[in-house]
Chain length 198, copies 4
């Protein structure tokens, strides 16, 4: 009835050692200086053990992402009841991360990995909260009538994340006030916000 399984079972120790080594080296040296041989050596593992389970280094990175070893798994905005302030808080948090050289090269490396491997892209997108934490915050805002209930939340989310990516790729500096201006752009300036109920 059930699937036959024979032979030794996959070693969890090796799996973890590999992912941890990958995360360590990725953070230390960036995506394109990451090598399978380096990971194997760092993890104390044969190369074949890596190739047995992952097809490429980008798949390795994707798995690290999935396990939350490169970024906090749910990086979303807070909910203080004030959607504009919460989004600004969240953006500023991210801006601060990427303002540091290490944060910048980490994100650029992730972008490079995502460009190369669809899986990394999908997981990075999920990780960055664009689908989960951020959307939840918008739904809460709709429920609280902070924003219109027909607001295109996916587009709004991407209009917040996207500029970050663009600035990083173009190496444009992120000036003070950028977060506020972005939130104003996507939610509309305060003065033209939706009318309060009643």
């Amino acid at each position: 009835m059930s699937e036959q399984r024979r032979g030794a079972v996959r070693s969890e120790a090796a799996r973890r050692a590999i992912l941890e080594a990958t995360a360590r080296l990725f953070a230390a040296r960036g995506y394109d200086h990451l090598t399978i041989e380096g990971v194997a050596h760092e993890a104390g593992v044969g190369k074949q053990t890596i190739y047995r389970w992952w097809p490429s280094k980008s798949a390795l990175v994707a798995d690290c992402l999935l396990e939350g070893m490169l970024l906090p798994n749910r990086l979303g905005p807070p909910n203080t009841g004030d959607i504009r302030a919460d989004l600004v808080t969240w953006l500023d948090e991210i801006f601060e991360l990427v303002a540091q050289p290490i944060g910048e090269s980490l994100i650029l490396s992730l972008i490079a990995a995502a460009a190369e491997n669809p899986d990394v892209g999908r997981r990075l997108y999920a990780s960055m909260g664009a689908t989960s934490a951020l959307v939840e915050r918008f739904e809460a805002a709709i429920a609280a009538s902070e924003i219109r209930d027909d607001a295109p939340v996916q587009e709004i989310g991407e209009a917040l994340m996207g500029p970050l990516v663009v600035r990083m790729l173009s190496r444009s500096p992120i000036t003070p006030g950028t977060a506020e201006r972005l939130v104003d752009v996507v939610l509309g300036p305060v003065s033209v916000g939706i009318a309060p109920p009643g």
Copy 2:
């Protein structure tokens, strides 16, 4: 008085052959299968001739961009007097390009190259019109009072381009109506647009 120059001068034929070979191979096989040796061979040129003038393959790609060999040099929105329609037209044009496999992989390769090399990033940013053609259109719109004169045009531009990049990296499909929704997000829905003057 003048600089003394002896011996053969830099060969323009070689320079063009190299850039054309780079563009050809980049389009055909993508950024990370592009090799200096491949370019040298394709261009019928010695490797040293490439290394003499360009420090890396990403610099080569950056130069191709600058010469408009990878993307049209000025890809900007039209100006029909209707900023919303013009932006939608422009976005849909880009969306159509990246909906084709070749366009998608071209852009993803450019993103990867930009992530790896600051120069490519800067030039790509300029190329994509985010600073020039797009900003000019916004200035025209301000002049025509189509949008507020204190609108943060850089942020608006990036809030239009950014989501494209995010969708490509995350491999999210671009659904019909996305362009309209994005324009609505960044300019505000029509009904709450700025009041007509007077």
Copy 3:
């Protein structure tokens, strides 16, 4: 008094499957393309079952030899009463075998295996009749006064076999008449043979 034995006993089926697979692969691909993994797979057997009973691939080949799976177990000269003719017949038989590509590569593989593993060497030597069938024929020849009773039979035997090995290793062609010339060399030319008794 006797050794205690518990648990499953050695599988004769596995043993035979392994030896047969070894012989098959050895003949097909030669000694140095023979792999334990290949034998295990071909025999439908786990690798450990091979390692449990044989220490190395050359031991495997030695066992195949011992079971006569690679060469006829007793390849010796006939006895028609004419020692010279019998030796020529025997040599020509061998020469014909090694003239075919398959025979040549089989023997060269065996030589390589023998060079690598003393056991293979000893068993091959025995197999090739140099100690048994050939010596028996010489003893018969001595009994029949065909050759001197103090003839150094081991040296004579090796002086017949050795040139074959040398020709194979040096890839010298074996020309017609070689067998006769060799027999003449080791037994002395007919005209100067030992005087008939009486």
Copy 4:
């Protein structure tokens, strides 16, 4: 008219370093523990530089032989005017060499290499004097009427060398007197030698 040659020329330093490293490692660890990577490392050379000029490790070994780095290039019998004594001297010299463990494993390694690669075989054959020095000695012996002028010298030579190879492969000990007995076998016992002229 002449062949065009452009680009850097082959480095003699690299060639020598590689051959010397090969000879050193071959002598130290034997043919089948010899690795291309080991040679490259020992020679301080990139692997590709080896693969550019030699197709396999056995070709490397063959070249070492050709340069006389593994064996003296002309290992032949002396000429004191007494062919039997000279041959015995020569054989005993070789027997002494192969009686030492290092000599034995060197020769066995050469045999293994010869079995694998025709070129090694041919060059080894030439090196061992079977074609040159030994044949010259026989010709001198014929000229001096020490042996019959129609003696099959190639067969005689191989009937001397061959048994050595057979003993090495079969790991039979070489007992005292073997050289004499072999010479007796191939030249005939003294008592039945050719009649002195006159």
